[in-house]
């Protein structure tokens, strides 16, 4: 198959001009990711704290007030309402005014000392995030409070063993979150978000531009020229690649300098691996364009795949908890591997030696894509 740089250049020029002159699409390609970025940064909160909470304190003694303070100080509960009884709390949760309720029965102090203390914590079960963080927080705080009381009373009782009474637990379990010690949401999300956005752009662009050309009839006109199909495909894919890389750079820069998301590893490595990822994303776009008949269908199929990508590739939800069949589906999407790669480089700061299995998979993917592209390169309309 002959190959001509002059022809390739001409085709590339046409593609780039077409992209640049389509102002609205261009705007969206750059605006959308930025909007997503800012939304995720400011709106999204994975670690939920400050649950609006209603309190019913039917004891009103120092012990009950201590306990309520312990809950409030943990940061997990924001006491916003003071109510009289359980009924009122239920109503408040029903109409959404609060997400949690604490009900302390009368004679708290006395009961606790006698070993019969109890407190009722009600959580709004219609809201998943609140529930999960509220649940473990509540249990843990109550447990700790109980233990402190125990320690104090034993100490007051003068037991001999000092180790049991040194005011705290004999074992302190210190947890440290690696790479993201302040547990900033954006550090979790940004790498995966970048990968997701890149995939969306690449797949959408490559699928749509091919379908659009076929629809408009310009494809036939081009096929009647000496342009080789392979040249045509490369010319279609390269600009999309550039747009994606540009987008990625913009988001990275904003993420790092504005939001102060750390970038621990090597940028060069990320750039190279991104290109691999982009090629595999394009393959997906090519396949979509081959099986759909109109722009609208192409866009819809793309959105289905994006949804699957968001849910199954480990971007948001953990893959380890998924059943095997779901994991297999996720294994088919190149994003899964790239999410690991970009997290590895950005957040963990590891080198290629740790990432080589994922990289290899992407190489295989890209290879398959190029083969398929060559196969799909038809010199005819049918």
């Amino acid at each position: 198959m002959q190959f001509s740089f002059q022809r390739l250049r001409a085709l590339l020029y046409k593609e780039i001009v077409q992209i640049l002159r389509d102002r609205r699409t261009l705007l969206l390609f750059f605006l959308l990711p930025l909007i997503e970025l800012f939304l995720f940064a400011y709106a999204v909160s994975l670690t939920v704290s400050h649950l609006p909470t209603a309190v019913v304190d039917q004891s009103l003694d120092s012990r009950s007030r201590d306990f309520i303070h312990a809950l409030a100080n943990s940061g997990n509960f924001d006491i916003t309402l003071d109510l009289q009884n359980q009924e009122q709390v239920l109503k408040a949760i029903d109409n959404g005014t609060v997400k949690a309720g604490i009900v302390i029965p009368p004679d708290f102090a006395g009961k606790v000392l006698r070993g019969e203390g109890s407190v009722l914590i009600l959580l709004d079960g219609s809201d998943s995030f609140s529930v999960e963080s509220g649940y473990s927080a509540a249990s843990s705080i109550a447990q700790k409070y109980s233990l402190e009381l125990t320690a104090q009373s034993v100490q007051a009782g003068g037991a001999a063993s000092t180790s049991a009474t040194s005011g705290g637990l004999p074992i302190a379990t210190i947890t440290r979150v690696l790479y993201n010690p302040d547990i900033k949401d954006l550090v979790f999300i940004l790498p995966g978000l970048i990968a997701l956005i890149m995939q969306i752009i690449v797949v959408t662009h490559s699928a749509l531009s091919l379908v659009r050309e076929r629809e408009a009839g310009t494809l036939e006109q081009l096929l009647a020229t000496p342009a080789r199909p392979f040249e045509m495909i490369i010319a279609k894919l390269v600009p999309g690649m550039l747009v994606a890389m540009l987008d990625m750079s913009i988001i990275l820069v904003i993420g790092i300098f504005w939001f102060q998301v750390p970038f621990q590893g090597s940028i060069g490595l990320l750039a190279v691996l991104s290109i691999l990822f982009i090629i595999s994303g394009m393959g997906l776009g090519l396949v979509i364009s081959a099986v759909t008949k109109s722009q609208r269908q192409a866009q819809q199929l793309t959105s289905v795949i994006q949804m699957l990508a968001m849910l199954l590739t480990g971007f948001l939800y953990p893959r380890t908890t998924m059943p095997l069949w779901t994991q297999l589906i996720g294994d088919l999407i190149p994003l899964t591997y790239f999410v690991r790669i970009i997290r590895g480089i950005m957040t963990k700061g590891v080198s290629l030696s740790f990432l080589w299995t994922d990289t290899l998979t992407l190489v295989v993917y890209a290879g398959i894509v190029l083969v398929v592209a060559a196969a799909l390169s038809k010199k005819r309309l049918d």
Partner: protein
């Protein structure tokens, strides 16, 4: 015996099938034609008869399922790139990149055909002048008028000085003045360079001006001859008149012996008769007997349009028994 050098386009027993829902559909069957260099060949036929498909198969844009076809001696399936280099094409649904300006479009196609930069300048200027687009070089192709778009398409298809151009309904939807200009351009090229033209057209006046005309109906060529030859295929002679009561007159005339076919043309009736003088008198008598007046009764030469309708309806009748 024409040597192969002199044959620009050739098709023998061409077959094309499409895969449909209920199985394979044969859209072209046994298409045979030959276009000599410098000739103009017009392919006419009803909508969906297979004109575009024929053109595409010959060019190698669709897979050929049977028979042989070639352009300038290059086989449509094997030597596709040779065909690309030496022929020009305007697709029916032609669309040039709308966001590119006229000049950018010309350069684009020039580059695709591998014309060196030095030569491009002169050639493009020449073609723009030829097509009357010199003032519009910086206008996006999408914002040209219909006629100008077609001329631009023609210019782009000629940029590499091909010896053959295949045009699929190139003047569809274009105003008569622009149409005429378009054909004048082509005519000049033919005269100066011996350009071979293969055109699918729904316009009968364009068919009249071709050296050879092929009439395709449901995937088969039911006639292939010079325009005069095709018109001679129509049995009988042609009369024309304008009756006062159209429907009644039509029924009467159609029922007379010796009237082979009656066509309508606006307010006129065109009966085909086997004997001009005899049947003319009989028609006039029949009309008078019914009290129908008429005007402008005369014998006319059948044009391509009448021939076309006649041949197609006869074919339909033959097929429906």
């Amino acid at each position: 015996m024409t040597t192969t050098n002199e044959i620009a386009i050739s098709a023998q027993g061409l077959v094309k099938r499409f895969k449909g829902r209920g199985g394979a559909v044969t859209v072209l069957e046994d298409i045979t034609l030959e276009v000599k260099r410098g000739e103009t060949f017009g392919l006419i036929g009803p909508d969906g008869a297979g004109k575009s498909t024929t053109t595409r198969v010959i060019l190698g844009l669709l897979r050929r399922d049977g028979g042989r076809s070639s352009v300038l001696g290059h086989d449509s399936m094997r030597d596709v790139y040779m065909i690309r280099a030496e022929s020009g094409y305007i697709a029916q649904q032609f669309a040039l990149p709308a966001d590119l300006t006229v000049m950018e479009n010309m350069r684009f196609f020039a580059d695709l055909h591998g014309i060196p930069a030095k030569r491009q300048k002169g050639r493009i200027a020449e073609l723009l002048k030829f097509a009357g687009l010199t003032e519009f070089t910086s206008r996006p192709a999408g914002r040209l008028s219909g006629g100008m778009k077609k001329k631009l398409a023609l210019a782009c298809s000629l940029i590499h000085e091909p010896q053959v151009v295949l045009l699929d309904e190139p003047t569809l939807g274009v105003d008569p003045v622009s149409r005429r200009e378009f054909w004048n351009l082509l005519g000049n090229l033919r005269a100066e360079r011996g350009l071979t033209i293969f055109v699918c057209t729904p316009y009968m006046d364009e068919a009249e001006r071709c050296n050879q005309v092929g009439l395709i109906y449901k995937g088969r060529l039911i006639a292939r001859d010079t325009p005069a030859g095709i018109k001679k295929m129509v049995p009988g002679r042609l009369l024309e008149f304008k009756p006062a009561q159209f429907e009644t007159a039509r029924k009467i005339v159609a029922g007379l012996t010796g009237v082979l076919q009656v066509q309508t043309y606006g307010a006129m009736l065109h009966p085909f008769v086997d004997d001009l003088e005899l049947r003319r008198k009989e028609i006039e008598q029949a009309l008078t007997a019914q009290g129908i007046t008429w005007s402008g009764m005369r014998a006319i030469q059948p044009r391509m349009e009448e021939a076309f309708i006649n041949l197609v309806t006869r074919q339909e009748e033959a097929e429906n028994g």
